[in-house]
């Protein structure tokens, strides 16, 4: 059951992608897209974690939306801060690699978290081991695990937790 649902989600995603790429709803385009999507779903049935773990409750969808808004805000902030560092003559960096812990359990949730961290102010995920993330930080504020977790991870985690659990 769970498998069927995730297969269906993958199929729909692939077909939608195909239609977007073609920019048309002609019958021949749809037929080719359907055949190829079915083939891909059959081939990759065993590795569908990304789609089966996503929840589709209204709360999850709202969290996904809030996550997107928050993410864009953080991305812009990251770029402005980086521009300020690069443009100042003294180059005020204080780099280091800190360790943070995530509460997220699902693989996809952790992947999104790692990606988000990389694109937000001054942080870059270097290594991901179980619940531990090693993050390179341009200006280290605290090397303590708890404090670093609060300031790097928590912002995204609150949304991803609802989306993936």
């Amino acid at each position: 059951m769970e498998k069927a649902r995730s297969s269906a989600v993958l199929f729909a995603t692939l077909l939608l992608l195909w239609i977007f790429l073609n920019g048309s709803l002609a019958v021949d385009v749809l037929i080719v897209g359907t055949v190829v999507s079915v083939l891909i779903v059959l081939l990759f049935k065993s590795s569908l974690a990304a789609f089966s773990e996503l929840k589709t409750t209204p709360q999850a969808l709202r969290a996904a939306l809030q996550y997107c808004v928050y993410f864009i805000k953080e991305l812009i902030k990251a770029n402005i801060r980086l521009a300020r560092i690069v443009l100042s003559p003294s180059l005020p960096v204080k780099p280091g690699i800190v360790k943070v812990r995530t509460r997220l359990k699902s693989k996809m949730g952790r992947l999104l978290l790692a990606n988000s961290i990389t694109l937000t102010p001054g942080t870059l995920t270097v290594e991901l081991k179980d619940e531990w993330l090693y993050v390179h930080w341009v200006s280290v504020e605290s090397s303590d695990v708890e404090a670093a977790t609060t300031s790097i991870v928590s912002g995204f985690e609150q949304y991803l937790e609802v989306m993936y659990g």
């Binding site: 920019g23 990251a78 780099p95 280091g96 690699i97 990606n115 995920t125 270097v126 390179h136």
Partner: protein, 112 residues
């Protein structure tokens, strides 16, 4: 109306290019590889997204394809940055003198 859209599109293109310029500047100025990756990953993501958005204002009929390119960049850019950083750390790339702490190295040291 057309000129207004052109204006917004042009403005977005210039803003995006400016961020890309900062990214390039960051590549030159940052002291070590990890900081350079940071400069590269963030600016190329936002810079390219802004340029894509600007193109959308100039050529609205490209919208769907631009959206796909944008999503692709959003997912692949950070992953490539992470993989580069991880590979660099594993082969022991030198960190700049200002580096304060390296928890990853500490943890690896304990295990081996």
């Amino acid at each position: 109306m057309g000129t207004l859209l052109d204006f917004i599109g042009g403005l977005l293109l210039v803003t995006g290019s400016t961020f890309l310029l900062f990214g390039g500047l960051g590549l030159v100025r940052m002291p070590d590889l990890f900081n350079r990756i940071q400069a590269g990953a963030k600016t190329t993501t936002l810079g390219t997204l802004l340029i894509l958005l600007g193109m959308f204002f100039l050529q609205p009929q490209w919208g769907l394809k631009l959206l796909l390119i944008g999503l692709f960049i959003l997912f692949t850019n950070p992953i490539s940055a992470q993989v580069l950083a991880r590979a660099a750390h594993r082969v022991g790339t030198e960190k700049c003198a200002k580096t304060t702490v390296d928890r990853l190295e500490e943890d690896l040291g304990e295990k081996s």
